[in-house]
Point group: C2
Chain length 295, copies 2
């Protein structure tokens, strides 16, 4: 998976953490690793703490394409006020990320299931085009690229299977307010499948002929939502990669796993909870979740 490794400083009504391990690649990997081997394609600076590298390695994440370059690691600083749904970005320091060119080991080019987390769409495309006949490609992006690199993103959409977006992104890219109309618009522009994340309201999956929707796992223990979307994507893509089969049944199950993985993410700072998560805990919460949503 392609994404960012970051040092996050986060303040919420429940406390504060300085320069903890974060970034889309880390959050994604913490849930995906429960289902499948995860190769992490990202960049760090010389200042990146060695303990984080050892920690990722301990978790079984494959780091052969984690580049270390001169300069500082990507840093993000944000705060959540009473409404824990949206972060106020206090500071972003791109550091080595601004000159990131992913570079894969030869063997990694034959990986068949790829997730391109939110980075510059040109970098995403560069990585995708270096791959040898991938079978399943997932893509995430963000409002910044929709506004500033819309054409590059639209071109990239034609090359992916699943586009994962939050509700605002889906609306802003499609110009449609109704999320099903937005999903239909997106499918007309490339991806076979669209997965719209609605934060505390859950997700909506759309592919022609098949709609699926789940609420979020109901929890009142929201400590820090940073990385919930990436954790969701990791559970979703990880499960699909693990079962190596795309059907209505596996997609539903993948969405349920992603949903439940994200619920663990928000219950602690950064990846504190997801990094200790086991498949057993995930399955046990899936069973509780079933009682919450099945009628």
């Amino acid at each position: 998976m392609l994404g960012t490794v970051a040092l996050d400083t986060v303040k919420t009504p429940f406390g504060e953490r300085k320069e903890m391990l974060g970034g889309s690649a880390v959050h994604f990997a913490m849930s995906a690793r429960l289902f499948t081997p995860v190769n992490l394609v990202a960049i760090i600076g010389e200042d990146f703490p060695q303990k984080h590298i050892e920690f990722l390695r301990q978790k079984g994440i494959i780091l052969t394409s984690l580049l270390k370059e001169k300069g500082r690691t990507f840093r993000w600083e944000g705060e959540y006020k009473g409404d824990l749904n949206s972060a106020l970005t206090l500071n972003t320091e791109l550091g080595v990320l601004s000159a990131f060119r992913p570079c894969l080991q030869q063997a990694e080019k034959r990986i068949k299931r790829i997730f391109l987390a939110n980075v510059d769409p040109d970098i995403q495309r560069h990585l995708l085009e270096s791959m040898c006949k991938p079978r399943l490609v997932g893509l995430d992006s963000m409002n910044y690229w929709i506004a500033h690199k819309r054409n590059a993103l639209l071109r990239l959409l034609k090359q992916v299977d699943i586009y994962v977006a939050n509700d605002q992104e889906a609306r802003s890219l499609s110009g449609e307010h109704n999320l099903i109309k937005a999903a239909k618009w997106l499918v007309r522009h490339g991806p076979k499948m669209v997965l719209i994340k609605k934060g505390e309201h859950g997700v909506l999956f759309y592919t022609p002929g098949f709609i699926f929707s789940l609420p979020a796992y109901p929890t009142d223990k929201v400590i820090d939502p940073t990385g919930a979307g990436d954790t969701f994507a990791g559970g979703f893509m990880g499960y699909l990669a693990g079962v190596n089969k795309i059907s209505r049944k596996t997609i539903k199950k993948a969405i349920a796993y992603g949903t439940v993985a994200a619920s663990f993410n928000v219950e602690g700072f950064g990846a504190e909870k997801t990094s200790r998560l086991t498949l057993r805990e995930l399955d046990s919460r899936i069973n509780i979740f079933k009682r919450y949503v099945l009628f």
Copy 2:
């Protein structure tokens, strides 16, 4: 059920209707009637078209406590722009509603299942206190009363079993942003059960020891959402009254019926679609809904 009968003028991107039959009591009754007899406690003015009365009677609604008073019928005029989730109120004319004192037939005082739709909490309490040992009491309100008659509303909460609120109302009354925390706060203040309506994002039900959540029925045919919440409440309360049993199973089913009934409501202006709805159509959409949300 206690509520309003109104003449609604509505404009949406899909068209306009002038002085059509509306109001919380009408929308509620259109879905509740599919499960149980519905007595309508409301007020109309002298100008209320006779054809609407005949229409309600045809639908089997019991109108013995529909008061007709001197003055004009309650009128509401609103517009929905691109975002069909929130109405812009252009005009409200209370008319006879401003002096409404519900007055029940003796026999109606023994009705056991009651829904108090959004009117002045003092009127709601007045009606409730005239009832003879009701078994199940549902309550709806709105932001206006939360802001202007908070104490009256809090007092009333202690006398009801189910409080049905939208997410904004639940947040504003409880002061809690997290909806589960808000629901817990509400339960501490009276009702055994809380049902939070989240519009296009579905609903969240809470009672101590039992949480249940469903997304909305996914539809891209939203024509006019006016009355969706009341239609939901009508399906929910109507089903519970019909089966005459409160259990986890019946609550889940009631929420599913309410959800699906509301999806018909939004697909036409006012009660155009729900007034023609049959239980068969509702059941058939419940089955489609199951495919959309069960994993």
